[in-house]
Symmetry: C2
Subunit: 206 residues, 2 copies
Amino acid sequence: MAEKDTVRDQIVEAAKKRFSHFGYAKTTMAEVAGDCAMSPGNLYRFFPGKLDIAEAIATEDYSKHLDHLRKIAVAPGKDARQRLHDLLFEELRRTYHKLEKDPRAYQMARVISEERPKFANWMLENERKILVELMEEAERRGEFSIADKEFTAEMVQAATMKFRYPQLWSKLTLPKLERELEGVMDLIVRGLCPNAGAEHTAEAAE
Amino acid sequence: MAEKDTVRDQIVEAAKKRFSHFGYAKTTMAEVAGDCAMSPGNLYRFFPGKLDIAEAIATEDYSKHLDHLRKIAVAPGKDARQRLHDLLFEELRRTYHKLEKDPRAYQMARVISEERPKFANWMLENERKILVELMEEAERRGEFSIADKEFTAEMVQAATMKFRYPQLWSKLTLPKLERELEGVMDLIVRGLCPNAGAEHTAEAAE
DNA sequence: ATTCTGAATAATCAACAAATCGTTCAGTCT
DNA sequence: AGACTGAACGATTTGTTGATTATTCAGAAT
């Protein structure tokens, strides 16, 4: 029982080394098994398949990232705008740097997202929860109040989608991306016509 | 001289038929040339290459679309919010329907965007100009006024990027997409905290 | 002189064979 | 009985060959 977890971890560790060294596609189950001094077949007593090992690695790594984001979302001494700013920028920077300095990890993330849409969805859901926490904290502090937080979080994600998909960046540099994200955030926070807001608020609920 | 344009048009017409019938990849230059009763080599006196024929077709088609969008952007009898709504929805619907009912045209668009990034960029620029026109019209009518219209247009495009890339939709239905676009538009127009807008407006210009 | 042809060329694609690799499972070991 | 092995299997990938096709250009036709 407790044994199992040890072996599981050993497999994850071995796979992590191989994946980050040679990439997901270029490491074979036989190699991972070899590193753990066991037969390929035995891996399947601990994981349903190769992709699930990658998923385990990604989950572990991503969970740490989530903890970090959660702290940013409710950081004291910063107003809601700043917290949202920090949150979105942190995600952008993480993605950008992973792409730049660790292409192999990025490639692995791509494979998982493609092969396991559920996983990508789970990540979005988690980040949405954090956005909701941020808004709840803002409400608690009297910064502002939003009726449907879950829906609003979804829309914030939709509006910042561009910054989550490197495929859409087309050789844009980080500074350029940051400048754009800053602009989009402004749009989201302030709106196109902050003064005209009052007139339209009523009719918007069609 | 005037002759040249006639032949050019003939080639475009022949290619248009072939491309929409069998797809871009499945039609050969020899076939297009045959339809025009000329040799393959002669096509190259009128177009640098196959892709340029496709580009000519796309440009022609897209120009009509642009005229349509321009009308929507300055339509009388509608306020700025509605005009922006109509504009963004028209683009979404066009893309969606092209994808659904004319996969061959969509595939051609994909090839052009991939092979000729400049072209995709040109399209974005044109739509940005229309957004600027919309804002100028809004200013003229006293609906609202925006300082840097070019920049704001860029940000509106960034925020609505999701609705321009079918690759990101994967199985989302049009109603769901429309609901989302509606939400994002609300975010853009009204902002997250329309009441708190005044406090933050000053500090935002860091 | 200009317009066009069509064979030559080089790049791309399709199809097929060989090899590799993820996964399974009958059976061994402890 | 439970943990593990490793040969066997099928799917996927890789490598190769032949054909197709975009593009060029020397020269024919007008």
